[in-house]
Amino acid sequence: MQMRGTVAKRFGDDINTDYIIPAYLLQESWDKQFFADHAFEGYDPAFGPTCRANKESIVVAGNNFGCGSSREQAVYAIKYNNVVAVVAQSFPDIFFRNCLNNGLLPIQIIDTSGISIGDELVVDLDSHSIRDNTTGTEYPIIATDAAIETMKRGGFLGFVRERLRQKLKAVPMRAPS
């Protein structure tokens, strides 16, 4: 399975979810698109228009992208600006799992410094690698097989629905505590 996109934005280390979507907006809508309209509002207001200029954008960052608050709205803010993947050197767990759950690819590679804005990247989940078509460089993806499988499925929802179905068949669902 392949995804391709153009690098629209580059960030350094330790970009936290408060920068991605400020807290004061979190309770003001239950519509995911709302958060895309306010992505990086106080930190990099050009983020949305820049990413939306491509049909499929990719965001590149250094270490620890998405640290801090657990707010899943940070993933909506990125994804619904036409972003298909975030390529970074590391991700904290909560943000990584929030990405998996929403079909935004969290791609970890050892060193992102050779990737520039405007480069065309191809993410190949089958070969666990990404290729920078602009520079001709190939990078192995650091990920467990389970994470790659979840990326291919676009999240856990189908699995959880099946799991619930099985549990509802077995009555009682769980011994009462």
Binding site: A23, Y43, N64, S69, D93, I94, R97, K169, M173, R174
Partner: protein
């Protein structure tokens, strides 16, 4: 010989009914306790209904959470409600809680991570998750607790399970040495964040051990675990001891309950030969009162090197607003006045702490000093409904995050410190060393 296990590995093993070790991938991890705030609760409930209602219907069942007694709703971030949408969200949670038989706390009952321990909702040895990154606070109880997003929240409502969970490795922080006068748990953890950096504990559990940790009361332990997520730890944890059990017993007795053998049997501690990915030795006696400068919690400096002007002081949050925190601030502020150029905002971490502070005269000390006192909530740390900073404002906060824009304008400056530093700073209107204000003999 079989190597020993960490407390984290033991808790997962207990939950799975089989031996689990760091690095193992668990397909479905059953969770013991699940709590929601009013930020993520409403969308999680709506998504739960949208994504699973048909599965219940086709099974001939009504929509029903996996186990209501293991779930709690705690509105705390922007309460009393600050907007129509927030009120709608809280109403949605209350209606759902009533329909499902879930405990719904009231606005002002307290900050979720404080209530979860004060109410003995989370117990030693349990796996607890909540839709907030500071869920790691419960690690001080010896529970494996961490934050989740909205989607995991809705999945957990349905099945009580977390999927594709990798058992994390642990970093051992071995802390020894006696604190200097005016140094508290907050100074220690800010110092550790400074050593490690914002990504320094990524993917691993920060496990704290050693004589300094043993000597701390539970409130100090909560503070340390709370801030551990600021070095991107998967979570933080401490091995339960007699203080832990005394705390939990007291919390249970306030609810007319006692600790059962089953509850006690859940608790685990790390084996002496457990495997850690790294051991970090910390000499607590060398630490001075510490502040983290804008704009990173890991930007720690001794308070003696900082004298910046401060417009606003916040004493509150899930990090530092329990009894001992308010006590030390009240000792410093007693008989003194807040600087005419500075606002001091005091927000106790729960209704219980608020009422305790009232009964014991602390609220009067704060009010006499010129503080603003609010009912329990997350306050300015959430940057939405009170104490919002303007461009150029400088705030000293006892909370856990000083990111640019966290409390309002991205052009404001946030410093983190202990309640003692907060009180001294409020008096002087600039970052101040608390040691000169401590009563003689106070450490």
């Amino acid at each position: 010989m079989v190597p020993g296990a960490t407390i984290t590995e033991k808790i997962v093993s207990r939950a799975m009914g089989r031996k689990a070790k760091a690095g193992d991938l668990i397909e479905a991890l059953p969770v013991d306790k699940l709590y929601f705030n009013e930020v993520i609760g409403p969308p999680a409930i709506l998504n739960f209904e949208k994504d699973f209602e048909d599965v219940y219907t086709e099974s001939g069942k009504r929509l029903q959470v996996f186990n209501p007694s293991r779930i709690a709703f705690m509105p705390d971030h922007t309460v009393p409600s600050c907007s129509i949408k927030v009120s709608q969200g809280i109403r949605l949670m209350a209606d759902f809680a009533k329909d499902q038989g879930i405990a719904m706390y009231k606005e002002g009952d307290g900050i979720e991570h404080t209530i979860a321990s004060e109410e003995a909702f989370v117990l030693p040895g349990e796996i607890a998750v909540a839709t907030d990154s500071h869920t790691c606070t419960q690690g001080a109880l010896g529970s494996l607790a961490f934050g989740i997003g909205t989607t995991e929240g809705e999945n957990l409502l349905a099945t009580g399970e977390l999927y594709s969970f990798t058992v994390p490795e642990s970093i051992k922080f071995k802390v020894s040495g006696k604190f200097q006068r005016g140094v508290y748990a907050k100074d220690l953890v800010l110092h550790i964040l400074g050593m490690m950096g914002e990504g320094g504990a990524s993917k691993r559990v920060a496990e704290y051990v050693g004589p300094t940790i043993d000597s701390l009361d539970m409130e100090g332990r909560f503070t340390i675990c709370n801030l551990s997520v600021e070095m991107s730890a998967r979570t933080a944890i401490m091995n339960p001891d007699s203080k832990t059990f005394a705390y939990v017993n007291q919390a249970l007795s306030r609810r007319g309950l006692t600790m059962t053998d089953e509850m006690r049997g859940m608790a685990a501690i790390s084996d002496s030969d457990a495997t850690f990915s790294k051991v970090v030795e910390v000499d607590a006696s060398s630490i001075e009162p510490t502040v983290s400068l804008p704009h990173s919690p890991a930007n720690a400096k001794p308070v003696s090197q900082v004298t910046d002007r401060i417009d606003s002081v916040f004493l509150g949050s899930c990090a530092n607003a329990r009894e001992s925190d308010l006590t030390i601030a009240a000792k410093i502020l007693k008989g003194r006045k807040v600087s005419p150029n500075t606002n001091l905002l005091v927000i106790p971490a729960s209704r219980r702490v608020y009422n305790w502070a009232m009964d014991n005269g602390l609220l009067k000390i704060f009010a006499d000093a010129g503080a603003n006192i609010e009912s329990s909530n997350c306050g300015p740390c959430f940057g939405k409904h009170m104490g919002i900073l303007a461009p150029g404002d400088r705030c000293l906060s006892t909370s856990n995050r000083n990111y640019k824009g966290r409390m309002g304008s991205p052009e404001a400056f946030i410093y983190l410190g202990s309640p003692a530093v907060a009180a001294a700073t409020a008096i002087e209107g600039r970052i101040a060393d608390p040691r000169k204000y401590l009563p003689a003999g106070e450490d």
